[in-house]
């Protein structure tokens, strides 16, 4: 009984959204619900040429009676297959409204696009209840007219590249967070009193700063005439200002800054629990400081490093605004593509499919993490 709230919580906040995301990514019933007669008329069509006039008749009848709030999503669905389908349908609906139910209508005369096979095929494909088109499109694949899986034409989509880039950026940020966070966490663990508090506070600070303030601060610091470049040129390290922002460097710097606490805190909590006498013990047994670090402190810190890396990586792949504000042309991450489909074009199928891909990647990572952390000490033993 006591775990009932937990079960409800899990169901409402974890399983339900997951189920919705999956069903959004594979369900495809907007069109068949609005165009039932057309769907029936196209059931026997072999997909070649133009379907008989009965199909056109059915389409006109469906459009005439269609509820607009349901027609909209169906039309958007078709338009995301072939750009321009929306205006075609709007025009066709107006024409259908002008004739009475069952009266003959010449669709090609309404719009000559109805004389093209691909528009009919798009409808025929869209009346199946399930589809893999979103999942395929999420990685730049599509089904060719024969139904085989093929790559989209070059230059049509960059989802795969953006997904790879997302993982690359997240991986880079994670690696840099480890490189900075591990020594930093050890430093915190080695200090005490107000020094420790100050160090902890300064790493937590970015979490309390608003995203825009933080990003603006980085722009001011890193731009060509910014403080960092002024320092670099002032010290004579470089004659020309370095490009530190509006490129990958800026994205990595800004993301590392805000994600560092997610690395430092887990490592700190692990390192802080390592008995203080292990390093003196290693020294007394003949280990020079560096070897003692690699053989003792580092392996014992690994659970924290792993947990921190997992956290940082998972949070990083969802980043969207920071890359948009401080990134360059090819620093957009997959979350911004998801936001484009979900918010701007209300294409929830694509948003769900891209979300699923991220989720799958995260799940795999989590399993790897589980394996690694169970196997105890991954290095040093």
């Amino acid at each position: 009984m006591l775990i009932a709230p937990l079960v409800v919580f899990l169901a409402v906040f974890m399983l339900w959204p997951l189920w919705i995301m999956i069903s959004l990514a594979i369900r495809d019933d907007e069109v068949s619900e609005v165009l039932p007669r057309t769907a029936a008329a196209l059931a026997d069509w072999n997909g070649e040429g133009i379907p008989g006039s009965a199909a056109g008749q059915a389409l006109a009848d469906d459009l005439r009676g269609a509820e607009r709030t349901r027609l909209g999503p169906a039309v958007r669905r078709l338009n995301s297959d072939i750009s321009g389908f929306r205006t075609l349908m709007a025009r066709t609906q107006r024409a259908a409204d002008d004739v009475t139910d069952g009266a003959p209508i010449d669709l090609v005369a309404v719009d000559e696009r109805w004389g093209e096979t691909r528009y009919w095929r798009a409808i025929a494909n869209a009346v199946q209840p399930y589809t893999d088109r979103y999942l395929l499109a999420a990685v730049d694949l599509e089904r060719d007219p024969d139904g085989a899986i093929a790559s989209m034409p070059e230059g049509a989509s960059a989802n795969a590249a953006i997904i790879v880039r997302t993982f690359t950026i997240a991986g880079t940020v994670t690696a840099i967070c480890v490189m900075i966070g591990l020594p930093y966490a050890m430093l915190i663990a080695a200090t005490g009193g107000w020094v420790r508090n100050a160090l902890l506070l300064s790493v937590l600070l970015p979490l309390w700063t608003s995203l825009l303030v933080r990003t603006t601060a980085w722009v001011i610091l890193l731009q060509n005439e910014g403080l960092v470049n002024a320092a670099i040129t002032g010290l004579g390290l470089s004659d020309t200002p370095l490009s530190l922002i509006f490129n990958r460097t800026g994205v990595v710097i800004a993301m590392t800054h805000v994600l560092l606490p997610f690395m430092v805190l887990p490592i700190f909590s692990v390192v802080n629990a390592i008995p203080r006498n292990l390093m003196p013990a290693a020294a007394s047994l003949g280990a020079p400081p560096l070897r003692a670090f690699y053989r003792v402190l580092l392996p014992l810190s690994m659970p924290g490093v792993l947990a921190g890396s997992l956290l940082v990586f998972m949070v990083a792949i969802g980043y969207y605004i920071t890359p948009a504000l401080v990134g360059g042309a090819d620093d957009q991450m997959v979350a911004s593509v998801i936001a484009f489909f979900a918010l701007e074009t209300a294409n929830w199928g694509m948003a769900g499919a891209l979300g699923l891909i991220l989720l799958a990647a995260t799940t795999i990572l989590f399993i790897v993490y589980g394996r690694l952390s169970r196997s105890g000490a991954p290095i040093g033993a």
């Binding site: 959204p17 909209g72 958007r76 929306r86 049509a156 989509s157 360059g328 074009t345 209300a346 929830w348």
Partner: protein, 349 residues
């Protein structure tokens, strides 16, 4: 499952928002706009006077646009918003989907009272805003004429700012390539036209800094990071005013669009909502906006109430409309997914 995946998602959203916002019918008139400075002015000239005059409390919210947000509100069953200021795409999509109440133009004072492009079945135009070429007059002492100069990196060295995304960018590229504004969308409707726009963008690809939020290009212009940028005209004059900048605006080749007021269909406050839009569309009320933020107004009488100084900053000033381009909403609604995919692929190359 009988209901579709998306509607169950929206039901989830509805339940969760419903828990916090209470029963729809019991709420105050909820007006949603773009937030920030702009909404501050709107509060002063529309919201508060209207509330006072009609003894109708107004609940304000703000949003960042996106049709998906509205579709989610509607399909959730009980939208919590009444009046929303939307961009032209959201107006077009929602009107087709039937999620807005139809406008009674007689009540608004007649269609003749408004500029043509601000009149539609489902919405009343609120402002006309424009994307223009801007540069810092303190840093660049030259007569910049239009987007051809934007592409001329040799004569005017420095980075260029453009909004990340195909919209505006492709139009600008074609105009820079010599396509007259009236032919831009006809050209873009052909595959060759799109290829031509991307080919033009290739010429300065490495010099472009892509911005996303409207405040960015002006910060970057001010810091010298950008030599020229596309930017929203209203913000430029505001920056000149409040931050003592000397930003110059090139109206030639500017691209303007209309934002409109809409009422979500089924709104429990429909009458009050329409009354609010009427109030916000009166010339004497609209005339208070441009001196604060120089946007064009939908009511034709507004320009008679403004000083010449203010008038010449507006996208709707006749001189500024010369060589300007109106965004073709239908083109973008039809093509935004395909061209965004292509744009992203082009960026990734």
């Amino acid at each position: 499952m009988g209901i579709s995946g998306s509607s169950s998602f929206l039901a989830a959203v509805a339940i969760i928002t419903g828990l916090s916002s209470g029963v729809a019918a019991a709420r105050d008139l909820t007006v949603v706009s773009w937030g920030g400075n702009y909404q501050d002015v709107q509060r002063e000239i529309y919201f508060e006077p209207f509330s006072e005059q009609n003894e109708t409390p107004i609940l304000e919210e703000s949003w960042n646009g996106g049709y998906g947000v509205l579709a989610a509100q509607m399909q959730g069953g009980a939208p919590s918003w009444d009046v929303i200021q939307v961009e032209a795409e959201e107006l077009e999509l929602g009107c087709f989907d039937g999620i807005y109440e139809t406008i009674d133009w007689e009540m608004m004072g007649g269609e003749d009272q408004f500029f043509d492009s601000t009149v539609s079945e489902c919405g009343v135009g609120a402002i006309v805003w424009s994307t223009v070429l801007a540069y810092d007059g303190d840093r660049l002492d030259a007569e910049i004429d239009g987007w051809e100069d934007f592409w001329d990196i040799e004569t005017y060295p420095g980075s260029r700012g453009l909004r990340r995304g195909p919209k505006l960018t492709l139009e600008i590229a074609l105009m820079a390539d010599g396509v007259p504004p009236e032919d831009v969308y006809d050209t873009l409707r052909t595959d060759e036209g799109v290829d031509r726009a991307f080919a033009k963008l290739d010429e300065i690809k490495n010099d472009i800094v892509w911005w996303e939020a409207g405040a960015q290009p002006l910060q970057l212009l001010a810091s010298g990071e950008l030599a020229m940028t596309a930017a929203y005209s209203g913000r430029i004059f505001a920056a000149n005013e409040t931050e003592d900048r000397n930003f110059e605006v090139v109206w030639n080749g500017s691209i303007y669009a209309v934002d409109s007021w809409v009422v979500l269909s089924g709104s429990p406050n429909k009458d009050a909502a329409m009354e609010f839009i009427r109030f916000a569309s009166l010339a004497e009320n609209q005339a208070k906006m441009p001196p604060e933020i120089p946007y064009g107004m939908s009511n034709v009488d507004v320009s008679n109430m403004l000083s010449d100084d203010v008038l010449e900053q507006l996208p709707t000033a006749p001189a500024n409309l010369e060589g300007a381009l109106e965004t073709d909403v239908n083109f973008w609604v039809d093509n935004v997914e395909e061209l965004t995919g292509r744009f992203n692929a082009w960026l990734a190359q």
